[in-house]
């Protein structure tokens, strides 16, 4: 990977808004004047499967996909998805994750159990992790559905993109009906990482 690019991985569950968060980040990167490539596989994602989005921002980006051990910042929308994708993170990579669990169908069916030690497993594979109860924070901001924007806000302070750029993009890309809610969610998210001692 070209060393001058910032590599970001978003991981979550179909329906959690990974695609929207990654769209907003892409638009912010363009607005900030970067070259960007973003890649996702969403064939059956809306059927509740795992979803990931790869984003690469820099002067000149070649590959649209990331390889294992190459991610600078990972944003996990669900703890189990964090563990599933941990191997993409660099040894010193930063990691933000939503603590709200979403049971996979293999767990709801009773066939398997959700690992009790998921937090410990995250701590061991991603030592520089910050847990965020994004779903609860989003509820406080007005709707649990904005958890994705809370997480995006938290991620935003870790990237080389100015606050004003985010503001422009959120205003431009979000429908008026849900703008205020999401501006609140984004601000709540930013507050989570502003003083994070990574």
């Amino acid at each position: 990977m070209k060393s001058d690019s910032t590599n970001i991985l978003m991981a979550g569950v179909g329906g959690q808004g990974v695609i929207l968060a990654s769209f907003l980040l892409s638009q912010a990167a363009v607005e900030a004047g970067y070259d960007i490539k973003q890649s996702e596989v969403h064939g059956m994602a809306q059927r509740g499967g795992s979803v990931t989005s790869h984003l690469r921002i820099g002067e000149e980006v070649f590959s649209p996909v990331l390889s294992e051990g190459m991610v600078d910042v990972m944003l996990s929308f669900e703890p189990l998805e964090a563990v599933r994708n941990c191997h993409f993170l660099k040894a010193d990579g930063l990691h933000l994750y939503n603590t709200a669990r979403v049971n996979p169908s293999t767990v709801t069916s009773g066939a398997l159990t959700y690992p009790d030690d998921v937090e410990e497993r995250i701590a061991s594979c991603a030592p520089r992790s910050l847990a965020i109860d994004a779903t609860a924070l989003a509820e406080e901001a007005g709707s649990a559905r904005s958890a994705n924007v809370v997480l995006l806000g938290a991620l935003s302070t870790l990237l080389p993109i100015e606050e004003g750029v985010w503001d422009t993009v959120l205003h431009r890309e979000l429908p008026a009906k849900i703008l205020d809610l999401n501006l609140r969610a984004f601000a709540v998210g930013r507050a989570q990482t502003k003083d994070w001692e990574q």
Binding site: S63, R84, T106
Partner: protein
């Protein structure tokens, strides 16, 4: 101003810019978004056709009058459309024709991993392949110009990582064909043997001339850097090569067939060692080796299956002791073990669920098909046993029925049921049902009619009374169609009524004639269906887990309440649509309507 577009959005823009007049296709991941995006542009006609063969014939027809046509499909769709494709190469085209195949290395959403560049060599037509969204857009106009200059259809190959990746694109204006459109009653599209005696030779000569044209085509791009190592590559793999060996010289092929021989020979002579790096088949490599050019490494270094990435390319080139980017050679961290998988599942409230619960109980062998209902193959349903291609569910059930007729005539002993969705029914099942009826078949077909092409994201079907661009259209009723095909037994069932579904299946399996059962239930996702959720009475719940057999993610187990020792079931009201299938499974009346939203 540059715009961030996915490959598919860029292709749609390219179709508009290239002055295309008629566009057609059938939905299929990863191609679907092309026509969905194109439908938002003015100045051209576009349609979802009922299947890929029909789509290609529509596009070919448009070229007869001089119109420009573009046709989209996923990789396996080209198998369906192969007949008109091969023949259109012989007929040639008047207006330009570009046929797009969206391949899917690693089979993210596909049955097979076929490398459709091979169709170009097989059918003798040129194929172009872009490496990012800018090229994805630009190559549409390039392919259209090539098609019109040589009177040939052009294959356009994209793949998941191009179609579903976004990068920056410079936009241009639309340029329409300057030629007048007309109906000339010549016989060029009539490929009767008597008329085409010389056509094969002409086709070979045409492809040879296109190879010459390719020598100076800017889409084949020679980039000299370090002359020690030269790498020939194409498509998205070019991007991986640039990461893996930034200093290597590259010849980036934009048209994998026919190849520019002289350009390749010249590149080979300018570098010390020549390698070929490509995804899937050794398509470039074999052609280059046949030219008598020495290739130091190709598929001996790079895997033949699955999609590539920078690490895989670096590891492959490192095996030949090439100086690759060190960062990519560090040992890849291993994925975590013991993480419960999160496969896609039928949505809570999905109308397919009840049918699969019933089929599972009847222990039927189910000949399935392609759609959301393919998920019926997975636990806890395990009620779908064959998936081959679209339409196969109907005729395989008929074939099994005939195979069993002599030796196991009691159908209840080994029940066989075909299952298809509504979009699949319209795609290819009309001739299949007709065949069953005509041959005195006695098989049972269930049509799961959810009034949309759900798996690919809700594209319209002929059963919805409208078309791609939103205009009203005749509503085609599946029951009326199968009655017109003289299916002797046709009935509708409510798939949310387990008893009704099970009884209907039993009766139709026992019947000595062919039957079609139509299970009507609009897609909960597409039509945003949300009723009053159900709830579990924890006192009444015995923790028997019978309800979990319906495989609904709104249900889960929770710790036992006081005085009980077994985990009990809870229903998440945010996900529950109130479909009641789980309640029908419960023997203790522990699942009741009236949960709070």
């Amino acid at each position: 101003m540059k715009k961030l577009l996915s490959g598919n959005e860029a292709i749609a823009r390219g179709i508009w810019e290239a002055g295309v007049n008629v566009a057609s296709g059938y939905p299929g991941t990863p191609s679907t978004e092309i026509l969905e995006n194109l439908a938002t542009y003015d100045g051209l006609y576009c349609e979802w056709s009922v299947n890929e063969k029909v789509a290609l014939e529509v596009a070919l027809g448009a070229t007869v009058v001089g119109a420009r046509a573009f046709c989209t499909m996923k990789l396996v769709g080209l198998n369906v459309a192969a007949d008109p494709l091969f023949n259109a190469v012989y007929s040639g085209v008047k207006g330009g024709l570009v046929v797009l195949t969206a391949d899917d290395p690693s089979r993210h959403s596909s049955q097979t991993e076929q490398d459709n560049r091979n169709y170009a060599r097989f059918a003798r037509l040129p194929v172009m392949e872009p490496a990012d969204s800018q090229e994805a857009k630009d190559f549409v106009a390039e392919a259209m110009a090539l098609s019109e200059a040589f009177g040939t259809p052009v294959l356009y190959r994209t793949e998941t990582r191009i179609s579903h990746s976004k990068s920056l694109v410079e936009l241009e204006d639309r340029v329409e064909s300057a030629e007048p459109f007309a109906v000339n009653r010549d016989l060029s599209y009539c490929i009767l043997p008597a008329f085409t005696r010389t056509r094969h030779a002409e086709v070979e000569e045409r492809i040879r001339k296109i190879g010459e044209w390719a020598e100076t085509w800017t889409g084949n791009r020679l980039e000299m850097r370090d002359p020690e190592v030269g790498i020939i590559t194409c498509g998205v793999t070019y991007q991986y090569v640039r990461e893996a060996m930034p200093e290597a010289s590259t010849l980036k092929i934009g048209m994998p067939y026919p190849l520019p021989r002289n350009l390749i020979a010249s590149f080979a002579s300018q570098v010390k060692k020549l390698y070929v790096v490509e995804e899937l088949d050794p398509f470039l490599e074999e052609q280059i080796r046949l030219m008598g050019i020495e290739v130091a490494g190709g598929k001996d270094l790079i895997p033949l299956e699955n999609e590539l990435n920078p690490r895989i390319v670096a590891a492959g080139l490192a095996r030949a002791n090439l100086p690759v980017n060190d960062m990519l050679l560090t040992e890849a961290p291993a994925p975590a073990q013991g993480v419960p998988p999160r496969p896609p599942t039928l949505c809570p409230g999905c109308g397919h669920r009840g049918v699969f619960v019933a089929l599972n109980r009847l222990k039927a062998y189910v000949t399935g098909d392609i759609g959301c209902y393919t998920l019926g193959a997975l636990p806890p349903f395990s009620a779908l046993h064959s998936v081959i291609c679209m339409g196969a569910g109907v005729s395989m059930a008929h074939g099994m029925d005939k195979g069993l007729a002599e030796r196991m005539p009691d159908k209840a002993q080994a029940p066989v049921v075909g299952v298809v969705g509504d979009s699949t029914f319209f795609h290819s099942c009309i001739p299949e049902v007709l065949n069953t009826v005509w041959n005195n078949g006695t098989s049972v077909l269930v049509v799961l009619d959810n009034r949309t092409t759900a798996m690919t994201g809700g594209q319209v079907t002929p059963g919805q009374g409208c078309v791609l661009c939103g205009q009203e259209a005749p509503h085609i009723d599946i029951a009326e169609v199968v009655k017109a095909l003289k299916v002797p037994r046709v009935r509708k069932v409510d798939p949310y009524n387990l008893k009704e579904v099970e009884e209907a299946l039993k009766e139709e399996i026992a019947a000595p004639e062919a039957s079609v059962i139509i299970a009507e239930a609009p897609c909960v996702l597409e039509y945003k269906i949300k009723g009053v959720p159900y709830m579990v009475d924890a006192e009444a719940c015995t923790g028997c887990k019978r309800c979990l057999r319906v495989g609904c993610t709104a249900l889960s187990l929770t710790a036992p309440p006081e005085g009980k020792d077994k985990d009990v079931v809870v229903i998440d009201p945010a996900f529950c649509t109130g479909c009641s299938i789980c309640a029908q499974m419960c023997r203790f009346e522990a699942i009741l309507p009236g949960g709070e939203n």
